[in-house]
Symmetry: C2
């Protein structure tokens, strides 16, 4: 692999350029589609995306959700029914022509599902016995006319997943929020090894139309926080706007209570790239890799390579339970090592004449170590080292994240910290209600940092502290960080 074909910058030195190169050189996305903000998901990247989808689908179905599929479009009238939610309208793409004719009624590409799903929900439920209803749609796109776009971080078309749950009581909604948090724990932390904090968001920065929003957020290496999912307590706001009612036990109409949840498929992908990746490229948990084991035959021009290739094929056939491949291209061994490292392949098996002779295999982990194993121990060793690799990825991410949470009570110190610190800072803040917005605006203006919110479900305890901005009695300890 020539220098230009590999990643040419260090991740710590120029994260933005490093990220761009990994996206392109590990063949995750192609940005040459020709319409700004619309990208092509290449096979290598899309395999990983499908894994993210599958994990969330598995957990959401375990939690009793059923899959449905709504159109990609939404009626203009419905988009404007809930007053705050109508705030999406300035961002939507309109379909107003077909062929060479103007449509009688224009319609929008879905910015999110509420306005298409809830009019139909108003037709589906009749009695309190029909609830709870938990439905979701996956492997779909949402569309918003974003001004700046970046693969897996922000796009005009981006990959979407949303569940929409309907209950008889508000209590059930709040339980579902905690259930959604558990799903994030299971998928993001356990499967994908991405650490995060779970926040209740401030009123001025919640989902348009929600009573309360909750989000797991992680940190990219440049210190910017990124939202991995969001779950919303919608109260009865949408049920009142879209007229979703059921008869209660006394045969009286009652508006239903709703929650909705959306894992950020793209942001999760961005976090895998950014947090797990290293100077050589992509790093992937074992289960997520399109190829889990790459076999590299070590060939010599003056030796009998047939035995080596035969051994490689024998080993490949023994590893049928994994996604395994032998690299038989004409590239040099060094090129092959770098190529598959860049693509994040977890385990590399090296087999040369020495290995054939001694009935051994050299195994190299994408996370660093390399050693010789006995051929007889192959499957046992693969299993062991796959787990070891996952553990290393998890530990590295966890250490990375812990180091990035600081705390201060002083605005001056916060400003100083934010200059170098790439992460969250915990500070006392006056209010999470609308009256805190002014302080948040000042903070944003002067430091470029946003208020993520308070920890949820267990908020940090606070006593006798003053808001770092206005100096009034602080009601909360909130987390602030820069964002994209």
């Amino acid at each position: 692999m020539s220098k230009e074909e590999g990643i040419t910058v260090k991740k710590e030195q120029d994260f933005s350029e490093w990220y761009t190169q990994v996206v392109q050189k590990a063949e995750l996305a192609d940005i040459r589609f020709g319409i700004q903000g619309f990208i092509v998901h290449r096979p290598w990247g899309f395999f990983i995306i499908k894994k993210i989808y599958e994990y969330f689908e598995r957990e959401i179905e375990k939690d009793g959700h059923v899959a449905f599929l709504f159109p990609s479009v939404v009626k203009e009238e419905y988009l404007k029914k809930e007053k705050e939610h109508a705030g999406f309208t300035p961002e939507v793409f309109w379909i107003s022509e077909a062929g060479d004719k103007k449509l009688e009624e224009r319609f929008a590409l879905r910015p999110t599902g509420e306005a298409q799903i809830y009019p139909i929900y108003s037709l589906w439920f009749r009695s309190y016995k029909d609830l709870p209803f938990k439905g979701y749609q996956s492997r779909i796109s949402s569309f918003r006319n974003e001004m700046t776009t970046r693969p897996f971080l922000r796009g005009r078309e981006f990959l979407f997943f949303e569940s929409h749950d309907v209950f008889n009581t508000h209590e059930e909604v709040l339980k579902q929020v905690e259930k959604d948090l558990e799903i994030c724990d299971k998928v993001l932390k356990e499967d994908i090894k991405i650490p995060f904090l779970f926040f209740k968001r401030p009123q001025w920065d919640k989902f348009k139309g929600a009573v309360d929003s909750f989000t797991p957020e992680t940190l990219m290496p440049d210190g910017k926080k990124t939202q991995l999912a969001s779950t919303h307590d919608l109260g009865q706001r949408f049920s009142k706007a879209y007229d979703i009612k059921v008869k209660n036990k006394d045969e009286k109409d009652e508006y239903v209570w709703q929650s909705c949840f959306g894992p950020g498929i793209w942001r999760t992908m961005a976090s895998i790239i950014g947090i797990h990746g290293d100077d050589n490229g992509l790093v992937l948990p074992f289960d997520m890799a399109p190829i889990q084991i790459i076999i590299i035959p070590i060939l010599f021009s003056n030796k009998d390579n047939k035995a080596v290739i035969k051994k490689c094929k024998d080993i490949e056939s023994k590893l049928k339970n994994y996604r395994v491949k032998i690299d038989l291209t004409e590239n040099t061994t060094g090129y092959k090592y770098n190529y598959w490292e860049l693509h994040g392949v977890p385990l590399r098996l090296e087999i040369g004449p020495k290995e054939v002779k001694e009935n051994k295999i050299t195994i190299a982990l994408r996370t660093g170590s390399k050693f010789s194993i006995k051929l007889n121990d192959l499957t046992k060793e693969i299993e062991k080292n796959a787990k070891l690799l996952d553990k290393k990825i998890e530990e590295k991410a966890s250490t990375y994240f812990k180091d990035r949470i600081k705390e201060t009570n002083s605005y001056n110190e916060l400003k100083k910290i934010l200059k170098d610190h790439k992460g969250f800072v915990k500070v006392p803040f006056c209010s999470m209600d609308w009256d805190g917005e002014k302080c948040a605006d000042k903070l944003k203006e002067e430091t470029a940092a946003n208020v993520s919110g308070t920890l949820y479900p267990t908020e940090d305890k606070i006593k006798d502290k003053k808001c770092i901005i206005c100096g009034k009695k602080a009601k909360h300890l909130v987390y602030v960080a820069k964002s994209y």
Copy 2:
């Protein structure tokens, strides 16, 4: 179940109304979305759709395809690059505004993938060694501004699946066409039990831009043929239009050879409804059913129901390997039978005091039979009867299809046959080339029947026959039928 809640017409008497009722009452789709031609896939129907997708994904991946994902939109300029393919332009939806602004450059919702994928293919391949490349995208939508729409038959947004293969030679393209036919055999015939004929289409009715098109077609009970998939020999037409070249062994540029394949996800769903269904509603192959086994407790107001319910739960827990449910609603037993039959649940277990006492279970197959089995034989009997049910569905469909292929050499007789006959008629025809179009137009005008094409890969032999329309020497035996 009241009379109105069940299907109120006989399938044979009013297929169109029967179809509409099954779609609605078996909760497959909701047509009340508010924008014509855009439907909601309800959970029960969408489960079946996902099965269709999974079968095709399994087979296409076995055949070496990798998954990618392109945007939902396409650049106007690209849509018009291949002269014949540009014929899609009058049908496309245009996005020309965002928020309250006109876009600088409008773009279209994808009518099909060629015009979005091939400009990118021109960037991906450099050498003949990069080929063959086989890629596909699944679980996506296509959009065309159709005038008349019907759930799963024709929509303005309809579910899509497409593979796009790139080869060094034309020979490989033709092999891929046969491979695509094998995939159709495996999925449509074996998994889904839908019989079909595989045609090479006439020149005047092929895919816009293709050299040749090939389609498996089946018949709906109203006698209309429906296209279950299509695969196309694109020759070098698109590679020349989109400049997809590779260096050959002599380091010279050569345009690649291409094929593309698209199973009709919706049409397959429509065929399942239409062909397998009966007067009571939906009928589903065992593996496709959202619930495979419904357990109905036979309860009596004057008896000890606890033992019955306990037994139902015991049995449910023994059947964990299946999708199983106990119907514990307050509905009557008769209502429950009809409800689950309408939804196509393959096996019904009835358990009442008698069954508890005698350690027996009554088992009813959706395809008709009902009998008592020993509790001890439960899992064995489930397995056996699931297979039996599938076999019955397959046999019924196969008999149905065979009865619907007739043959004649006379135009007058054809006209007579087409009046009552609900199916294909095999007739001698002058030409499958463009010069046969005039005869096809006349046939269509006078009988509403279309020419599907000649059987492929083995065409019927013909000798000394005359075209039923123009009377000139017939070159082919073609199949004609009415279509939607």
